[in-house]
Amino acid sequence: MSATLLYIEDDREIGSFVCRHMQEQGYEVNWVMSGEQALEAAAGCKLVILDIMLPGLDGFTVGQRLKKAAPDIPILMLSARTSIDDKLQGLQFADDYLTKPFHPDELTARIEVLLRRTGARNSEPLAIKHLLVHEQQNLVENQDTGEEITLTGKQFHIFSYLLRHLGQIMTKEQIYESVWGESYIEGDKTLMVHIRYLREKIERNPAAPEIIETVRGIGYRIRA
């Protein structure tokens, strides 16, 4: 669990609080107060939490430079700037954008999602209900029986897409476009068919699915 986070924040009160909070969650936090320091401290961290309003180099510049130097390290913008322009500008390079005031639990949840998405925490298998998912090995294990579940390519894609967005509801369009790489055509039943087969393989009772939940009228989700 001891992933190192680089945290760039010039407000001492917020900084010390977030530091303490993240340490309580089991992370190591490297907190710096300026963009210049951040560029030096970036080596070895798993994720960057970045403020925008900084003395000297602003957060946008720092973020872009960090992303250029290490494209694999996810960046979460944590800023009091809420305008859509700022968000859009931030999300050009950042992986997520959280506005202040934020709930500490939300910050933790988002960091976990980012780390999982980028594979930084994939070494540990993910337990969902009766399943144990080893993402790096593309392996799904049924803990009830101890058997390995074989999924087809598309089924695994759908499953891992939902896992990457654990707890989030994804619409049919989003899933289809991510997995098939082409735009969704209204009324296309392909995705439904694939999900039905996927459920038959992973659910205890495919008629009352527990893992892949249908959110009526919106899409699907795997609850954390």
Binding site: D11, I14, F17, T82, S83, P101, P104, I169, T171
Partner: protein
């Protein structure tokens, strides 16, 4: 700016103006009849004069009529019976007119003195010979004059004078200069027409160039300044146009700078207000982990909610300020709004679950394409959904569906809260709904709210 003033203050000299050139042409036109005609005539006369002087060299014996008159006069003075007197006279005349030839015939029809001797002449003249001679020499070369001798001018003796036509005729006949005169006038007229034509063609060409240049747009959508050629009226027009373009550019630049300033002011303000809220929030979070009584926990929870609501109120307030001052540009494009609704609902769903709100989403499968700004439409949905969470959570229900409004597909969001009249525990929805109203109208949509005690129903439809 200094360049502008330079343009404005530049006064053109009169001789550089198009007006002066036009006046010159008009003047030329006016002077055509009173000046060019007399001028042409004078030139013609002078030229004629010169060529006449030249001609007199040729007419050394005077004109044919003068010769005729001279011979008649001399013949009248003679007596036809005095042959020696006539011979002497002929010799005198021969001396006077060396190029002419003379002879005379006496009353008996005999040819007498010939100066010089001519072979063809009959020695003795019959009436037929005389008639033949006359016929032969009418309008022929040499020019021939026959004069009866004696004061009566009745014959029968006569003198004949013959001069080669080359001596009596002018090389250039009278009136031979008239075609030149006409040609000169014509050339002058053609010159005038050409001058006017060139003048107007030049103006027209430059005006057309100006018109083309004015329609060219630069990268910023403003016209491009024109290359500035001459210091005349069109040149001034070009300069004025350039002047206008740079004023436009300046004002656009100023507007942009103002917009930037306002945006950054609001961003800074937002930042400065949010930072203390964040600090308060973090302290509250720490407090929650302390051992507190149930009432204490409830108070902490309440404060957290208030902080969240102040945060979103601030966000709405600042956004609204930006929007109403026209600093929130919308990019209207065709979007499937149902897809946007689904995505937005997906984001809100966890919160609804948390609040115990039952979400009933019943949207058509087909696309619903409206001309909207993606972010703007999301914002509308966010504000409406947030409103339901804040003010209608008691109904524990939200329904998002497609319906009909005037036989067109509309988006309907309804809840089972107490409608608008309930005194909600968290007021301050006004600004959020003002944003919704502003955005909806900006996106060429309209909306309608039906509020009753059983809940509120919001219908969004294209105008």
């Amino acid at each position: 700016m200094s360049k502008l003033k330079q343009w404005r203050s530049r006064r053109i000299k009169f001789r550089q103006t198009l007006l002066s050139r036009y006046l010159l042409i008009i003047l030329f036109a006016f002077l055509f009849i009173p000046i060019i005609f007399p001028l042409a005539s004078i030139i013609y006369i002078i030229l004629n004069q010169q060529s006449n002087n030249h001609d007199t060299d040729y007419l050394k014996y005077g004109s044919t009529s003068a010769l005729t008159a001279m011979l008649y006069e001399e013949a009248a003075k003679l007596d036809e019976s005095a042959a020696p007197q006539i011979d002497r006279k002929l010799n005198e005349l021969k001396e006077q007119y060396p190029d002419a030839s003379f002879f005379w015939v006496d009353a008996s029809g005999t040819t007498r003195l010939q100066l010089p001797q001519q072979k063809k002449l009959p020695q003795h003249w019959t009436p037929a010979d005389a008639i033949q001679f006359m016929k032969d020499h009418v309008d022929s070369d040499p020019f021939t004059v026959v004069a009866f001798i004696g004061p009566n001018k009745a014959g029968p003796a006569f003198i004949v004078l013959q001069v080669p036509r080359s001596i009596t005729r002018q090389a250039t006949p009278v009136g031979s200069g008239t075609p030149f005169y006409i040609a000169f006038l014509f050339i002058m007229f053609a010159f005038f027409v050409l001058l006017s034509l060139l003048f107007f063609r030049h103006i027209r060409k430059r005006l057309l160039q100006l018109q083309i240049a004015m329609t060219i747009q630069g990268e910023d959508g403003l016209p491009v300044p024109i290359k500035w050629h001459k210091e005349d009226e069109i040149g001034q027009l070009e300069a004025a146009f350039n002047d206008m373009v740079s004023q436009l550019r300046e004002s656009k630049e100023r507007e942009r700078a103002e917009e930037e300033l306002r945006k950054s002011l609001i961003a800074n303000l937002s930042h400065d207000l949010r930072t203390p809220l964040t600090v308060m929030n973090s302290h509250l979070y720490s407090l929650r982990n302390e051992s507190l009584s149930a009432a204490g926990q409830a108070a902490v929870k309440q404060m957290e909610l208030k902080i969240a609501s102040v945060g979103s109120l601030m966000e709405n307030l600042l956004s609204y300020t930006l929007m109403t001052s026209g600093r929130y540009p919308l990019k209207l494009e065709q979007h499937d709004v149902l897809r946007l609704v689904r995505e937005s609902a997906a984001a809100w769903y966890p919160l609804w679950e948390q609040e115990g709100i039952d979400a009933d989403i019943d949207l058509k499968a087909e696309k619903l394409l409206w001309n909207v700004d993606k972010e703007g439409f999301r914002r509308v949905l966010d504000n409406l959904f947030q409103n339901v969470v804040r003010h209608a959570a008691s109904g524990q229900y939200i329904r998002i569906s497609t319906g009909e409004h005037h036989s067109r597909t509309a988006l309907v969001i309804s809840d089972r809260g107490g409608g608008l009249n309930t005194s909600s525990s968290s007021k301050g929805a006004g600004i959020g709904l003002a944003i919704v109203d502003y955005l909806i109208h900006e996106m060429q949509l309209d909306w309608q709210t039906d509020s009753s005690e059983s809940g509120m129903r919001i219908t969004i439809f294209p105008k």
